[in-house]
């Protein structure tokens, strides 16, 4: 079973995964029409900013057992066994935020969504793009990620690669990568957004 693996050290904070995610969860599936849709499609992966301005694509871990699923009052959260994915049934969701209180990663958001009853705010989170996967496509965030901070692979492959990386790092002298002056890991738009939000 392939899964989305996050490599935080590679994230450059470009937020393309967010755009791709929102587009993949839009009615039209096309960025240019998606931005005109009502409700406006929103991402389910969130590039959070770290203490030093570095990015991190935060997405649902599809935990098992999943704390959100246990805490959900109306029983709207369930597991899709085929894709090992924790899903939210927006027809059942009552927007009580019990899952917000249960999720240790803070990956659930509350807004209108094209899959939910019209004008109703519901809990929304990553669904591993199972519609795309069923068509043989990789999840949209992975497809969009240019720095390989998001990969789609089996856990054993990911572990093997990581082991190899560690092995290499002990045999080669690896120093800190010198970054050119003016080069900033965090995208400017994200910075502006943070400054606006921070009070």
């Amino acid at each position: 079973m392939k899964k989305v693996v996050v490599h935080p050290e590679r994230c450059v904070g470009c937020m393309q995964c967010m755009v791709a995610c929102a587009t993949a969860h839009s009615r039209s599936g096309n960025l240019f029409s998606a931005i005109c849709e009502v409700p406006l499609p929103k991402p389910r992966v969130h590039v959070g900013v770290g203490l030093y301005g570095e990015g991190f694509p935060n997405r649902c871990r599809h935990c098992d057992p999943a704390p959100c699923m246990l805490a959900c009052l109306p029983g709207a959260i369930y597991r899709n066994a085929e894709f090992e994915t924790v899903m939210i049934d927006s027809d059942k969701c009552i927007n009580c935020a019990s899952c917000a209180m249960a999720c240790p990663f803070g990956v659930i958001r509350y807004h209108e969504d094209m899959h939910a009853p019209p004008k109703q705010v519901v809990a929304v989170k990553c669904d591993n793009c199972i519609d795309r996967q069923a068509k043989g496509l990789v999840p949209a965030c992975v497809e969009a990620c240019k720095s390989s901070a998001l990969t789609f692979e089996t856990t054993s492959d990911a572990l093997k690669r990581k082991t190899n990386e560690v092995a290499r790092s002990v045999s080669i002298e690896t120093g800190k990568i010198v970054v050119a002056p003016g080069f900033n890991l965090l995208n400017a738009a994200k910075k502006a957004q943070i400054n606006l939000k921070a009070m």
Partner: protein, 416 residues
């Protein structure tokens, strides 16, 4: 193995499910007072409010008992446990092959809590309700028509939800509370005042300190006489003065009882083979570090699940309970957890940030370097992150100021 579970609330249901995952053959009997398909108790206030129909309360299928091969004994109350004979006795005269006692190897007490009764004259009048179960809410719905004025006693979670529901139904609601703001058991003063402001802005009337001495009416309640001498007109009264663990049938000389039934880390009581879970159980509170009954849904789920595993022979330790709540009121979201009003002790540090214009408030309570409590008003999306830090007692290495910001996120806790 023969399992008996008393109570078909969420703790009992979760226990039955986890027993079945481990032990597919053992006999499971659930004895429960309520005859509805397993339903979500906290959601009954949404039915009162008119947000959902009663059918949406069910959280398991109508074939729940059948599917898991459970013997349901519904509509019956357990009156006695014979610990020595390992039997549970119900209030029924045995007839036609039906028995009134059930033998067990492992017993779970998951009887939840009952609404705390009040003392006042005229309580038997119509339209005076407690709000604990689906039946209560169905009765309320029938008495709503034509009513205009509602009186809610108590500003705890239930009183508060009742008031909110009736306001949404267009009632003129008066709430009688002891402290100056609602939810005083959950929230601190600053947060409570923000909640109060929002409710008052939408028309709630609040009276602090007064209590009801008597109700009067002609068959149905019409007036309430208060301890301060005033008289209130009311068409409906809801009593929400907290809950008490439902354990009158428990033999206290054989099963240790404090406020709730005392359990150990495996949810087992002082009497071997008897377990307790949910609103009726008492165990150490992670944040308060003292025995506590946290009568909340997520703990009933956790405890029921773990009790079931332990009963079926898989030893799983329960770390402790943690008080927490999240509520949305009109345009304000509130989340609270753990110790929100710390004792006067230098071991505790409190930091907070308030912006009344944005209706933003966040308060964090630390004991040494561990987060033990929080109050959040709005921007609650990341609340689970903070709650999990309280739950895991992780020493906090980053500055508290960072955690007070609305855009605090998971990445900021990571080292690399």
């Amino acid at each position: 193995m023969k399992y008996v579970i008393i109570g078909n609330g969420i703790a009992g249901i979760q226990a039955a499910e986890s027993i079945r995952q481990i032990d597919s053959r053992g006999g499971i009997t659930i004895i429960g007072d309520e005859t509805f398909t397993p339903y979500c108790r906290p959601m009954i206030s949404l039915v009162l409010e008119g947000a959902i129909p009663t059918e949406k309360l069910a959280i398991r299928g109508a074939d729940f008992y059948e599917k898991l091969n459970i013997e349901p004994v519904l509509g019956k109350r357990v009156t006695h446990i014979d610990v020595d004979a390992r039997q549970v006795i119900i209030d029924d005269t045995p007839k036609g092959g039906k028995k009134n006692h059930f033998s067990y190897d492992k017993l779970l007490i998951a009887t939840g809590a009952d609404a705390r009764p009040i003392k006042a004259e005229g309580l038997s009048l119509g339209n005076i309700f407690y709000m604990r179960g689906q039946a209560h809410v169905c009765d309320m719905l029938e008495s709503l028509s034509g009513g205009k004025k509602a009186l809610v006693l108590g500003g705890g979670l239930v009183g508060f939800k009742a008031a909110y529901g009736l306001m949404k139904r267009g009632f003129e609601v008066t709430m009688l509370i002891k402290s100056g703001y609602p939810l005083s058991m959950q929230i601190d003063e600053a947060g409570g005042k923000l909640v109060l402001k929002e409710l008052v802005r939408h028309g709630l009337k609040v009276m602090v300190g007064a209590e009801v001495k008597a109700f009067e009416g002609n068959g149905r309640v019409r007036e309430a006489y208060l301890s301060d001498g005033s008289v209130l007109q009311c068409d409906i009264v809801i009593i929400g003065k907290g809950v008490l663990p439902s354990l009158s049938f428990v033999p206290r000389d054989q099963v240790r009882v404090d406020l709730g039934i005392v359990v150990d880390q495996h949810l087992e009581t002082s009497s071997s083979g008897i377990f307790a879970a949910g609103d009726v159980a008492e165990y150490v509170d992670i944040a308060r570090k003292t025995p506590w009954v946290n009568a909340i849904w997520p703990e009933a789920v956790n405890q029921g699940r773990l009790a079931g595993m332990n009963m079926a022979g898989r030893k799983v330790a329960y770390k402790g309970s943690l008080s927490r709540n999240v509520i949305r009121i009109f345009d304000v979201d509130v989340m609270t957890c753990g110790v929100v009003e710390p004792p006067d002790d230098p071991g505790y540090q409190v930091i907070s940030k308030i912006d009344p214009h944005k209706n933003f408030y966040r308060k964090l309570v630390f004991r040494n370097d561990v987060l033990v409590g929080l109050v959040m008003v709005n921007d609650i999306d990341q609340g689970g992150l903070l709650v999990s830090l309280i739950q895991s007692e992780t020493p906090i290495k980053i500055s508290g100021e960072t955690m007070l910001k609305p855009n605090f996120n998971y990445k900021q806790l990571l080292k690399f």
